[in-house]
Symmetry: C2
Subunit: 149 residues, 2 copies
């Protein structure tokens, strides 16, 4: 998959605003709308573009607490059922199988610290195989971006 300057402009403009009309990209780069349209379809087919998402502000929904949780599993635990249990917790927005101390590393969004405590003590601790957890609460997020193209 070769990406030239025009493709980069398309991607940059749509990363910035996914609802940007094809025609306004076309005017920006100085080619026809049909050309941009065809390039965009090709980019979408190439799997370089995963999709277009509206980004909802969690704070507007009352989710003010972000935390990362390292989860220790006992040696005999299977990963699959643990993941399934984590998926059932709506506050869990990311889950990774990681090297290092933890077996599973998750990112959660909670309405407040009390809800986080409840999530830790009830939802997480009650998952079969979970030994203990280590929590890092994000007091402030300074960087939030995608990889550069």
């Amino acid at each position: 998959m070769k990406i030239d300057g025009i493709d980069k402009t398309i991607i940059k403009m749509l990363i910035n605003d996914a609802r940007t009309p094809v025609l306004s990209i076309a005017r920006k780069v100085g080619v026809s709308g049909a050309a941009i349209h065809q390039r965009l379809k090709k980019l979408e087919k190439s799997k370089l573009i995963e999709g277009y998402k509206m980004i909802v502000n969690p704070k507007s929904l009352g989710y003010t607490t972000t935390a990362f949780i390292g989860v220790f599993l006992d040696a005999s635990s299977q990963l699959a059922p643990t993941i399934k249990s984590l998926k059932a917790i709506p506050e869990v927005v990311e889950s990774h199988y990681t090297t290092g101390n933890y077996a599973v590393f998750i990112k959660v969004l909670c309405k407040n610290n009390e809800d986080l405590m409840y999530l830790l003590n009830k939802d997480i601790q009650n998952i079969k195989g979970v030994l203990r957890t280590e929590t890092f609460i994000s007091l402030e997020q300074h960087i939030n971006r995608q990889i550069l193209i």
Copy 2:
């Protein structure tokens, strides 16, 4: 800010595909396009909607390694210059000021483990005030989603 069922449908459809036309949302919920259009403008003004973003697949760009890095800073270090240095590293996609062991907790995307090693030993370690780091490489990501509305 009150959100009713129609608003939820708008949000759900646009989270799924930010380029969904207003009129196809309108047909889905059974109201006029103008009504959806006006609701959407109101939602955008309310800051509940942060924006619309094209999601690029990092793997398509060769970024196959995701890692979380806990950064220890010496006690006298200021946070602001550290953040500035981190912002200058394009692989750093998230940065949080956290409670717990670390001062700063970051998420990085690298092309491979060698690049990650370089990033740790050169880019990160050379930042003034950084004492040491702890790295968790994500071997697999099972969950990646937004908070439910």
